[in-house]
C-alpha cells in the first residue's frame, strides 16, 4: 500500500503543477454556480424545492463534464510515461503494474472528487441560502456527488486503458475524445433514432433499457433521476426509462469503474517498455 500512496502523492503533485487540479475545480464550480442561478426560474411553478431542481440540472451537466475531465486527466497516464522514457525505470522498481495503476487512479480520483465536492457544494450552498426549503434536496445532491465520482472513476479507467493501448500521448488524446463523443453524445442520438424508427415496438420495450444500462453515462442519468423521482420531467426518456428499476441502474453505476479499471490493468500488463 505504501508504494500506491507514494505513487499517488507524486501524481497529485504533478497534477497540481500542471494545473489540472485548479482547472478541474474551477470548471466544476463555475458551471455548477451558473446552473444554480439559471435553475432558479422554474421553482415556483413545479412546487419542489430549489435544490432538487438544481440537482436535475447538475445531473445533465455531470454527464458531459465529469467524463470529459476524467479523460483529460487520465489520457497521459501511461502514454506520457512511455514517451518521456520514464516507464522502464519505474518498472524496475519493486512495485507491480497494478500498484502503479492504483497510485495514479487514487491521485486522479482525489482531484475529481475535489472538483465534484466543491462544485456541487457551491451550488448546494447557493440554493440553501436563497430557499429555506432547499434542505429537502440535500440527499439527492449527496447521491449525485458520489455517483458522479463513480462516473469519473469509470472514465479514468477507460482513459488509462486507451493510454496503454496507444502508447503515444497524441494518439491517446484522440482516442479519449472519440470515446467521450461516442458514449456521451452519439450513443444517445443512436438510441433516439432507434426509438423513433421503432414507434414503441420491441426495440423500445426490451432493447432500449438494456442499451441504457450498458452505457455508464446513461446508467448514471437513470440512477439519479429515478432516485429523485424526476425521470419523466427531466430526462425525456419516457416510459421505457421509468420502467428500469433503481437497483439495476445502481448496479451499472457501481460495476462500470471495476470493468474499465480491469481493462486498463490488462492493457498495462501488455505494454513492453
Amino acid at each position: 500500500m505504501k508504494a500506491v500512496f507514494a505513487t499517488a502523492g507524486a501524481e497529485f503533485r504533478i497534477a497540481l503543477r500542471n494545473r489540472w487540479v485548479v482547472i478541474a475545480v474551477l470548471l466544476m464550480v463555475v458551471f455548477s454556480l451558473v446552473l444554480a442561478a439559471a435553475g432558479a426560474a422554474p421553482t415556483g411553478d413545479v412546487g419542489v424545492d430549489r435544490l432538487s431542481v438544481i440537482v436535475a440540472s447538475l445531473t445533465s451537466l455531470a454527464i458531459y463534464l465529469v467524463p470529459l475531465l476524467a479523460l483529460l486527466i487520465g489520457f497521459d497516464a501511461v502514454a506520457g510515461e512511455v514517451e518521456r522514457g520514464t516507464l522502464p525505470l519505474l518498472l524496475t522498481y519493486p512495485l507491480s503494474r497494478l500498484q502503479i495503476l492504483m497510485g495514479k487512479f487514487l491521485a486522479h480520483l482525489v482531484i475529481l472528487s475535489l472538483a465534484v465536492v466543491l462544485g456541487y457544494g457551491a451550488a448546494g450552498l447557493a440554493a440553501i441560502l436563497t430557499d429555506a426549503r432547499a434542505g429537502a434536496g440535500i440527499p439527492a445532491l449527496v447521491r449525485l456527488g458520489w455517483s458522479s465520482i463513480l462516473l469519473g472513476a469509470t472514465f479514468l479507467g477507460a482513459a488509462y486503458a486507451l493510454s496503454a493501448l496507444s502508447r503515444r500521448p497524441s494518439g491517446a488524446a484522440g482516442l479519449a475524445i472519440g470515446l467521450w463523443l461516442l458514449f456521451v453524445v452519439l450513443y444517445d442520438l443512436g438510441l433516439l433514432a432507434m426509438v423513433v424508427a421503432d414507434g414503441g415496438g420491441v426495440l423500445t420495450t426490451h432493447v432500449l433499457p438494456v442499451a441504457l444500462l450498458a452505457n455508464p453515462a446513461d446508467a448514471f442519468r437513470l440512477f439519479n433521476l429515478a432516485a429523485s423521482g424526476a425521470v419523466g420531467a427531466a430526462s425525456g426518456m419516457g416510459a421505457a426509462a421509468a420502467s428500469i428499476e433503481l437497483w439495476k441502474s445502481a448496479t451499472s453505476v457501481l460495476i462500470w469503474p471495476v470493468i474499465t479499471l480491469a481493462l486498463a490493468w490488462a492493457a498495462l500488463r501488455r505494454v513492453t517498455p
Binding site: 508504494a3 507524486a10 504533478i14 522514457g85 522502464p88 525505470l89 522498481y93 507491480s96
Partner: protein, 299 residues
Amino acid sequence: MNETLTISWLTKRFGTVEALSQVSLSVGAGQRVALLGHNGAGKSTMMKIILGLIPPTEGEIVVCGAAPGSAAARAQVAYLPENAAFHPALTGEEQIRYFLSLRGESPSQARDLLARVGLHDAAARRIGTYSKGMRQRVGLAQALIGRPRLLVLDEPTSGLDPVSRRDFYALLDGFAAEGSSVLLSSHALTEVEARTDRIVILSQGRLMTQGTLPELRHEAALPVQFLVTPAEGQGAALAGALPGGATGTDGILRLHSTQEDKLALLARIAGLGEAVADLDVIPPSLEDIYSHFSRRDGQ
C-alpha cells in the same frame, strides 16, 4: 553460489533479427564489469532482459538468485537507463523522495543522496530546468538507493564531463568495496578508464571476448610501435641498422614489433648507443584493442 548475475546461452530475437546470440556471462559479488560495444551491439537489450523488462527468446538468467523481473530480483537490482528521464514537473528532491519510498527507505535521505552526486544546490529546482548531465546525476542518485546487490548502468558516463566521470568511478569503487556488483555499458574502451575488473566486448549480438585489460591486450597481440629519433646526421646509419623501419618526413624512424619481440628490439636499439637521440615505445591504444575485437566479426 557467489555469483550475483549468471547468464547462460542467452539469445534474443526480434522477428528475424537476432539481437543477442548464445551469450554467456557471469558477474561475481563485488565485481565491476564493463559491457562494451557499438550502438546496436545488444548492450541495452541484454540489460533490459537482466532487468526483466523484456523476456529472452532462449537461455537462462539468474539475478541475485531469482528470476529477472521477479519481486525478489527487483528489490536487489538498481538500474540507470541510457538518457535517464524524469517527469519535468517534479523537483530533483521530490523525485528521489518518491523513489526512496518505493524501495521502502526513508524519504529524508533524498538531500544526502543528491549531495553525493553533486546536486545539493539544485535539489529544490524542477527537473525540467536541469541539463542532460544533471538528469544523469539524478539517475545515478536513484540507482544508489538502498545498497543494491547489482547495479545495471546503461552508458552511465555519457553526458558527464571528465571530472564528474572520475567522481562517478570513485562512487562505483566504494560500492564494489561493499560487495555490490556493477554491470555498466559503454561504447568506448577509453570511457571505462580501466576502472573495471573485467571487460566484455559485444559485437552484433555476439560475445567477442572478455577479460581484464592486460588480458585483452595480450589476446589481441597487436604490434607495438617504436619511434626512434636519430642523433644529428645518423639518420641513414640508423635506418641501415634497423631494417624494416620507415623514416617519415620528420626524420623519425618508425618500427613495428610483436609483443614477443618487443624486448629484443628494445635491446638492439639501446645497443646503438650514441646514434639514437630519443626513443618512444607506443603500446596499442585502447581504441585499437577495442576495434580489433569489435570488428573481428564479418570483416
